[in-house]
Amino acid sequence: MQELKTIRQIHDAFDSGVLTPSDLTRNYFETIKSSQHNAWITLCERRALQQAEELTNDLTYKHGGKVPRSALPLFGIPLGIKDVLTIDGVRTTCASKMLDNYVPPYTATAVVKLEAAGAISLGKLNMDEFAMGSSNENSAYGTVLHPTHSDRVPGGSSGGSGTAVAADHCLAALGTDTGGSIRLPASFCGIVGMKPTYGRISRYGQIAFASSLDQIGPMTKSVEDAALLCQVMAGVDAKDSTSAEIEVDNWQQTVLETRVSDAKGLRVGVPQEYFIDGIDVEVRNAIEGMIQKLKDQGAEIVPVSLPHTQYAVSTYYVIAVSEASSNLSRYDGVRFGVRPPEAMQAANLLDFYKKVRGNFGAEVKRRIILGTFALSSGFYDAYYRKAAQVRRLMRTDFENAFQKVDVMVSPVAPTTAFKLGEKSKDPLTMYLTDIFTIPASMAGLPAMSVPVGNDHQGLSIGMHLFAPRFNETVLFKAGRIVELLAGGAK
């Protein structure tokens, strides 16, 4: 099948009768099953084919052969869902042995909204266990391979989503981002990945890692589709008290109306702290080249300073792990999840918990220990409270800088996709991969990765864009300009 890259292309193919939702869904399952990428943990083939068949019948008998674009904007669009999000009746593992047998009795709000708009869920995508990782080497179900370079990582933690979209296993996917877990794999795999403002999309049904940072977002082949998925999922939800009561714009329309000439007058901030030594020279050249193109189109390039950037990784690896140690205390083997046979031989309750929780993977245990330490009596003020204060300073940095600019740009990561095993033995080196994505997470900003080029090995380079809180409109506009200047999705 010729690769159809956007929702509009697929809808045009449905309209012309050359393709049906059922054909498309079957084609994707064929691609998935012949793939060696290990991008999927669980396929929901029967459920998906049934969804597709109903939509195919509706297309002919209910809608007169024309896709009902405004009522069902995702009509017949097959998606992959990161296995951190629940679907009623479909196994949801979070890539952990702990939840190997977990079949939730409810569906995440984001997935409910996508399916209500006509989307089809093909299955659950591989990821780092409990979304903890930058390379997808921490999955209990095996490492995901990079879509085009089998000796490389796809990035993490939404690595299955990155590879699945780039290798055309599905039209688009959901990822989740706590410190960069959408943007990094999007950059490494050469697709668009977008993290909305914290609170934009309900987290109901998203298995928690760090609740003050976690956000769901789209991973797509175009900025337009990211905008469309985002606007379908966004909005207040009674089931998530942190979801924001703020109006959702028509971001797809924003993208459709954006021209390269709209760069004129756009104030683009370039944070000097993001162009440090240690950035791969080809990454730097690609990003600086795009900044020059923006300038050539009339954008105002403004150097800005975010002075606390150097503390981002330290701050994150105190706050995120502290929240994780609390969130993951629910895995006790009593009410859900795996209860291993050795735990049933435990002498007492404490021993039972320890035997159950011994099944967490190595990185998850490391973070639980680190977080428990940071929250423990005698260390709380020096670590957790201190990090939360620095987090406030990082947010103030952004607020000051956004007085002068509309949007900021940087690399997503200092390098392109690294080799499997290259960083997995040294956690700190791995953590530093997220140095440019963590700050926007700490401040709750909307941010996006847009492909702008490749290195000499053909590995993708993503430009990182971030905008003020709840200003996804300017983010999508700027992202579309960059996409057009890079010669991306038409």
């Binding site: 924001a244 150097q310 435990a346 929780r357 490391r366 220990i369 204060q389 620095v390």
Partner: protein, 100 residues
Amino acid sequence: MIDVNETLIQKVADLARLELSEAEIREYASSIGGILKHVEQLNSVSTEGVEPMYYGIDGSLRLREDLVQPMAVKEDGKPRILETAPESIHDGFKVPPMIG
């Protein structure tokens, strides 16, 4: 600077109810020691009088009406939440003997 040794790791692992092998304790003492050494850079930041940012949202959380909502049940009337129980008995969770 905190001395991250194997005794500390074992103590924290006990608090977190995690069973670790001796090899894991050694590895975590080393790796967590390295991470905390990096984190010590935060001590150079002046934070006097800075309000900590613990949450992702500004202001307070919305409160819901305190209403009784129906529980999801299966066709036979049994609560759906029991579908996730490692073991269930009648209409309840069956807990391991050391709890019950």
